[in-house]
């Protein structure tokens, strides 16, 4: 299907429903209009519940059109209806059109209509009817009629939007993105199994836990009278030889991103303070969206970033900023959950797409950072992770920094070394991986010359005169990484495996223990296949970590210590992974 005109029927559809925090959509009504014949279908809850499939064609010759279709597919799943084969989501396509334009833009249907000068078709009294829908039934006959009329206004507005956007649609790629909105609906319905008993315990005792945490974790005295002291933290860093990025003013950079990166590079000294700061300042346990069945469900916000990655709300999501809280993820009885990701996905993409032989060699070596140090002549050929840990760490930071387009000054900050040391590492990278750098320059040249860059399957971003070169240069790696994840999730779900959630470049899957081995094998194969479909000439390896009930999905390096500190305060047994 290469064009809109290839479809025999084009159905524009909208549902009204209510949804409780962490729960499933409860459908009130639906309106569907066929774009060419203008045929209209209006149906209220009882009629919809009685049907075992959609009252319009969802087969291979029809196109399903909606604005933010994962919501509609959530209703399909609640009704037990088969999902459409072809989907066009105008929200996703509107996102794509504006990706990379650093403008204050919101993405509701009203905003999209306004963007295309279609404000006159915007539904009237939208907030009022949305409130009635969220309040839920029983509805008076007038309310039921009003809800249907309001729903129809949304459908008709979406028809106008389709007409305005049809020249901007890039078939068949937009259908692939529409397909992913079904994946999103399935994952949002699946959710993540949570140990709700422990969550309740945490919620009930959180004030006590907070005050105790400082006493137990901050043995070095970084906190004073319950507050984080920058001066004492600086002394702590100096005493332990931990370099730390600084602001232009000379003060320590204490933002979340810096802490997150430093916690990775200097886990032993920093991870606990990262967790402590997150726990004390950000974690609001009551915000975690938990459904009545004890599962964490939240909007996964697909295509929200410029690179098209998902960006779920941190506050409601168990995979938010506090790593230790993931200890609450616990499979239910007789089930397993598994975290599956590609090994070094971003490096693998850069190596494959740039065709840099040395980078490919580094990727396949199993330890690309040490391999890089060896290729640059910084360590002997026989060096190991154990024999040259400092050199390996510096080359690792450099390799990751290059992927994010970091310059010498930022890299020097990251390493806690002078700029000339950072320059030396960057020169080593350029000397070792010359084809990568040529490719990266071509990306910038193409982006700034043509004003647009595209991934393998057609997600694109605008490149403007003031676009940040680091963000432009990194787009093919991040954007194709996002494509890879979308393909992988589709392939895994098609095998009947339940995917709970995507996490950056990984997925969390779930199943019965009797099927664990087979599920993991299939899921890993799907991820490998997805990587080949995106890269064309290379397959990335996939790794998995599975846990069965009553084990927890907890990161030994970045969370276990903190989790056990909290459990100790609660008088609960320590967790041993």
């Amino acid at each position: 299907m290469a064009r809109l005109s290839d479809f025999k029927e084009i159905w524009i559809v909208d549902f009204e429903f209510q949804i409780s925090e962490g729960g499933f959509p409860e459908v009130h009504c639906m309106v569907a209009r066929e774009a060419r014949s203008n045929r209209l279908i209006r149906a209220f809850r009882e009629e919809l519940l009685a049907a075992d499939e959609a009252p319009f064609d969802v087969g291979k010759d029809a196109l399903f059109v909606a604005y933010y279709s994962s919501a509609e597919f959530g209703c399909f799943l609640s009704l037990g209806w088969p999902l459409p084969i072809h989907t066009l989501d105008l929200y996703v396509e509107f996102r794509r059109l504006l990706a990379g334009r650093e403008v204050e833009q919101r993405f509701s249907l009203l905003h999209a209509l306004s963007h295309f000068n279609l404000g006159q078709h915007a539904p009237s009294a939208k907030a009022e009817w949305r409130d009635i829908a969220m309040r839920g039934g029983p509805f008076t006959p007038e309310e039921a009629q009003g809800l249907l009329d309001y729903c129809q206004e949304d459908v008709d507005a979406t028809c106008h939007l389709l007409e305005a956007m049809k020249m901007d649609l890039n078939f068949p790629y937009c259908l692939f993105r529409g397909r992913y909105m079904q994946s999103i609906a399935l994952m949002e319905r699946q959710g993540i199994p949570i140990d709700t008993e422990t969550l309740e315990l945490l919620r009930d005792n959180w004030d006590h836990i907070r005050s105790q945490l400082i006493d137990r974790i901050d043995v070095s005295g970084v906190y004073t009278e319950g507050s984080f002291s920058e001066q004492r933290f600086e002394q702590y860093l100096a005493a332990n030889g931990v370099p730390w990025p600084r602001l232009q003013s000379g003060r320590l950079a204490l933002d979340e991103e810096t802490f997150r990166q430093q916690a990775r590079s200097h886990s032993r000294f920093i991870a606990k303070y990262h967790e402590l700061r997150s726990a004390l300042s950000k974690l609001k346990l009551n915000n975690l969206a938990i459904g009545p069945d004890g599962r964490n469900r939240t909007l996964l916000s697909p295509f929200r970033s410029t690179t098209s990655r998902n960006q779920p709300s941190n506050a409601k999501f168990i995979f938010g900023p506090s790593t230790w809280i993931r200890g609450l993820i616990q499979p239910k009885e007789d089930t397993f959950i598994a975290y599956i990701d590609w090994s070094q996905q971003e490096l693998g993409i850069a190596a494959a797409l740039s065709g840099d032989e040395n980078m490919l060699k580094a990727y396949h070596s199993g330890d690309p950072y040490l391999q890089f140090a060896q290729m640059a002549g910084a360590v002997p050929k026989k060096a190991t992770k154990e024999s040259h840990p400092n050199e390996r760490a510096a080359y690792k930071v450099c390799m990751l920094a290059v992927q994010y387009g970091m310059g010498a000054e930022s890299l020097a900050n990251q390493l806690g070394k002078p700029v000339y040391e950072a320059n030396k590492l960057l020169r080593a990278h350029k000397d070792t991986f010359p084809k990568y750098w040529e490719w990266n320059q071509r990306i910038l040249d193409t982006g700034f010359a043509e004003g647009r860059l595209e991934t393998v399957f057609g997600w694109s971003r605008a490149v403007l005169g003031d676009s940040k070169p680091a963000s432009v240069g990194n787009f093919p790696v991040q954007g194709n990484g996002a494509e890879m994840l979308r393909v992988a999730i589709g392939l895994i779900q098609n095998q009947g495996i339940r995917v709970c959630v995507p996490i950056h470049d990984a997925v969390l899957v779930e199943g019965h223990v009797s099927e664990e081995r087979e599920c993991l094998l299939i899921a890993q194969k799907c991820m490998q296949k997805a990587s080949h479909m995106v890269l064309g000439n290379m397959t990335l390896a996939a790794e998995s970590k599975a846990v069965r009930a009553p084990s927890r999905l907890i990161d030994n390096d970045r969370g276990l210590g903190f989790w056990n500190a909290v459990m100790s305060i609660l008088g609960r047994p320590q967790y041993i992974s």
Binding site: G80, F176, D431, V487, N494, I497
Partner: protein, 199 residues
């Protein structure tokens, strides 16, 4: 895999791979162009390479000292030489195209040729020519050794990638390095008149 969820269909995407868009970005080939190519000797802290083929031997130059800073160089037309025996600062040079790390920055090195007169400056010239020959195949840096009255050089131990040379003809390199304002093809040139005390 015993689930009640409706199966998903990937019709139309089984052949997704055939729709892959290229990611090599090779349609736009940006070529680095240097509008100015400095005429100077290698800086003592810079690692550099010398192009093995692009060179011009025996070009007469006039070196005019400045009150401050490096002397100003003028290329002389060969026909003028017999008439300029009274003008100081004239020598024959070998022009070599060089690039320095890390950005392959080009410059033209005007190496003074020895006169075989046994003069002290001949050792500087000979060592510079020898250094240039070595730099045709290896990255090195050079500095002055006042005790030897000659240049000394240091080879780089690292195995850096080969230099990237400007894609320019010799004439264009000269135009960008010497520049039209620094060519003397008449005895009436203001610089000659000044050196002769006529202006």
């Amino acid at each position: 895999m015993t689930e009640t969820e409706p199966p998903l269909v990937m019709d139309g995407f089984a052949d997704l791979e055939q729709f892959r868009l290229p990611q090599d970005y090779s349609e736009i080939q940006a070529i680095v162009d240097h509008t100015v190519i400095p005429l100077r000797k290698p800086k003592k802290q810079h690692w550099f390479r010398v192009h093995p083929e692009i060179k011009m031997e025996g070009v007469p130059f006039l070196e005019v000292e400045q009150e401050s800073g490096a002397p100003e160089m003028f290329m002389l037309h060969g026909k003028l030489l017999p008439s300029l025996t009274d003008v100081p600062g004239i020598s024959r040079r070998c022009l070599r195209l060089c690039v320095s790390r890390p950005n392959n920055t080009p410059f033209v090195w005007p190496i003074k040729l020895p006169t075989d007169s046994g003069a002290k400056h001949d050792d500087w010239a000979r060592s510079a020519l020898a250094t240039a020959r070595l730099a045709e195949t290896r990255w090195l840096r050079m500095s002055s050794d006042m005790h030897l009255n000659a240049y000394k050089h240091f080879f780089a131990a690292a195995s850096w990638s080969e230099p990237v040379w400007p894609q320019l003809e010799l004439v264009e390199i000269l135009r960008r390095s010497v520049g039209e304002n620094h060519i003397i093809n008449s005895l009436d040139h203001p610089v000659i008149r000044q050196l002769r005390g006529l202006e």
